[in-house]
């Protein structure tokens, strides 16, 4: 049954891809080469669509490839395959963590881990900031510093931060509003 193979291929990806959505990419290239369920063009479409739709990238990619290979059931099977290892592993880790939570050394370890987490999130934030506020492609074409900074986006960002801190509504509201403002200002 093809559907079980689809599940199995994505199960392996979920089991061995460490570090988030982009880590699944090499596995998808392998899968493309060994099964031919989808084309290389499908992969590049998939990356573009996964990046421009909400939801975890890895899940988006699995849905897209599963769906292009085998329709709705294929999409579901691929996602189920991808998340099953996570669920099993996290439940095991969660139990271990609960058992050793009061252990001195586990707490010391967490003390280091939390600082590292904040660091990694900051770096991820900086990378989005680069995409949001800098126009590196235009800059390399024209060489003009004025073209490097997307002033419109920067002003919008500052205003948005002030408004967010003042009003403090649910983050989703600002995400929706920013999409609309992006279209109006043609950012």
């Amino acid at each position: 049954m093809l559907i079980f193979r689809l599940f199995w291929e994505f199960f392996k990806t979920g089991l061995f891809a460490i570090g988030g959505g982009l880590a699944t990419l090499p596995f998808l290239y392998d899968m493309q080469a060994s099964t031919g369920w989808f084309t290389l063009d499908d992969i590049s479409n998939m990356i573009a669509i996964s990046e421009s739709t909400p939801g975890p990238m890895g899940i988006n990619m699995a849905t897209y490839t599963g769906f292009t290979s085998m329709g709705v059931i294929g999409g579901i099977a691929a996602v189920a395959g991808l998340v099953t290892p996570s669920i099993i592993i996290i439940i095991i880790v969660s139990n271990i963590l609960e058992k050793f939570k009061t252990n001195k050394y586990v707490q010391y370890c967490m003390y280091g881990l939390r600082a590292a987490s904040v660091g990694l999130i900051s770096v991820a934030g900086l990378r989005v900031a680069e995409a949001a506020f800098l126009r590196t492609q235009l800059f390399t074409e024209t060489g003009s510093l004025m073209d490097l900074f997307n002033i419109k986006a920067f002003i919008f960002g500052v205003v948005l931060y002030v408004v967010y801190k003042k009003t403090g509504k649910h983050p989703i509201i600002y995400i929706l509003a920013s999409g609309v403002i992006g279209v109006i200002l043609s950012l």
Binding site: G20, T24, T63, R114, I121
Partner: protein
């Protein structure tokens, strides 16, 4: 049953409005899980995030499983995960089936540019909140700075830095404890 439904809804909201990687879900996660429901603390979120980086699988799914399992056991973990992936399944299938060249639509690109700015703003705010809880002394600031610089300027996978930071935490804290004990003696 009510809480399972709530787990599904909360994570469907998170899955449906997260643009970008696992970090982009933090602002909504903080609001829904920490502030509105007290399902976890900010410190626990950081633990989940760190562990989610070093264990296989999608970070968002790992975090959903952690919180779901903590609230309602195995079923809770599964339901939270289903919630988290549900919007992706629906949205991606619709796009794959009906919309050719979705990413070339001009207003989609403008909307995404606006959303990217918003994600920066929200993540900045989330990082400040988390930093207040997790960066508590000179050593944690040092670990933070080292991780930022190393991940910006090298291509090493981030779980390596997480493991190093955990080891550094154990070493630094043990040394601090020893020097304190010596002073007392």
């Amino acid at each position: 049953m009510k809480e399972l439904w709530e787990l599904f809804l909360v994570f469907a909201k998170i899955g449906g409005f997260t643009f970008g990687g696992g970090y982009a879900m933090l602002p909504i996660l903080q609001r829904e899980v920490v502030e509105n429901r007290n399902w976890a603390t900010n410190e626990e979120l950081m633990d989940y995030y760190a562990i989610g980086q070093c264990t296989p699988g999608i970070i968002a799914v790992n975090t959903a499983t952690f919180i779901g399992y903590k609230r309602k056991g195995i079923i809770g973990g599964i339901v939270a995960t289903i919630g988290c992936v549900f919007p992706s399944l629906v949205i991606i299938m619709i796009i794959a089936a009906f919309i050719n060249s979705f990413t070339h639509i001009v207003w989609v690109q403008h909307a995404l540019a606006g959303i990217r700015v918003c994600v920066c703003v929200l993540v900045l705010d989330a990082v400040i909140k988390l930093a207040k809880k997790s960066l508590i002394d000179a050593a944690t600031y040092l670990i933070f700075a080292a991780v930022v610089i190393l991940s910006l300027f090298t291509d090493v996978a981030s779980f390596v830095w997480i493991v190093c930071a955990g080891a550094a935490g154990v070493i630094i804290k043990t040394l601090m404890e020893r020097s304190k004990a010596q002073k007392k003696a």
